[in-house]
Symmetry: C2
Subunit: 182 residues, 2 copies
DNA sequence: TCAACTGTACCGACTAGTCGGTACAGTTAC
DNA sequence: GTAACTGTACCGACTAGTCGGTACAGTTGA
């Protein structure tokens, strides 16, 4: 079993994803993590520190992802679009969780997301050597996340979408991207 | 002076935009609208009905916008990208307000936004006769809104951005779009 | 014509419940 | 013996919604 600290962060993320920021109360997080409220507070003395934990996790996962993106065989643009589709990876979950925190007015969440996105845009710009194309592709990726943000929340099933159909959609987007960068 | 009902809806939108969903409490809305809480409740007996008022307003503004988009001289694609940049128009404000309501778990908000977006995608598809290009352009527009959603909130200045610079960015996006639809 | 009444618009104090956070005594595992 | 908890009781701030009341323009009927 994962450490209590990790289970608490997982539970917080999960609640942010599936129930929204308002429902992610300390009591609810403790219950889902299988610890008492006292136990939660032992690890995270305030809710801000809990949010900080999720932001840290995002920053770390995003740094790993950036490294993969730079060295991806298919190139950063395809890699970026591919990974912009919500797939429930740890990085996906962290991004959406932090986006929800931002909606709740958490300042660190905005800064963290901005840093992550700036990094992506920089990698796209470096690889494509065309700032306009990089910006356009970045926007398409943002759009995919925006869609995910609206498909996910409030008690719906955990989004186990049609993978074959999604791959088709991805191929279509790749063809459009080829027109942009070509 | 606008009717109390309209002032209340304006105040609710404004608070959703600038302070976020959590801060848009009944007391705060009443104070900003210049009515008492009792007066607010007279017009909107529950918070859900207040949200319903904003959703109705969005649906109406979006219908007007769809008509303009269909008959735009520059074509629906350029019109869509142009209007996807946040400019603080009544439609912009209504969209962001409803997006924030969605984050707060309001079911009607999701449905309203989905309907509006489906309409846009349909218009793009009809005009371009290319579903892939339509989807890509739709994503770019979503991405622009996603950016706006993250630039706006939590006590920041009301976003009066550099119009000349933005127009340049728009021209660059248009050139990318020409590659897609060409 | 004027008293009685109706409906609309609004005020502000209050209530019941929720949430973040505190406090602390006791338990378990290494 | 100490770190990592559990369980419970509590507090203060805040929030949605309630409720009794006010003001006043317009209508009705003798």
């Amino acid at each position: 079993m994962a450490s209590a600290r990790d289970r608490i962060l997982d539970a917080f993320e999960e609640l942010l994803l599936t129930e929204g920021e308002r429902a992610a109360t300390l009591d609810a997080v403790a219950a889902r993590a299988g610890v008492s409220k006292g136990g939660l507070v032992y690890h995270f003395p305030s809710k801000d520190l809990l949010a900080h934990g999720v932001c840290e996790r995002l920053a770390s996962l995003a740094a790993d992802d950036a490294a993969l993106m730079r060295s991806a065989a298919e190139g950063p643009a395809r890699f970026y679009i591919r990974s912009s589709r919500y797939r429930g990876t740890p990085l996906d979950r962290a991004i959406v969780a932090v986006a929800r925190l931002h909606q709740g007015g958490n300042a660190e969440a905005v800064a963290t997301l901005r840093a992550v996105e700036a990094q992506w845009l920089a990698i796209l710009g470096d690889a494509l050597r065309d700032d306009d194309a990089a910006q356009a592709i970045k926007l398409m990726g943002d759009g995919l996340y925006y869609e995910a943000l609206f498909r996910l929340p409030t008690g719906s099933p955990p989004v186990e979408s049609d993978v074959a159909g999604d791959d088709l959609e991805l191929e279509r987007l790749f063809r459009v991207i080829d027109k942009i960068v070509g």
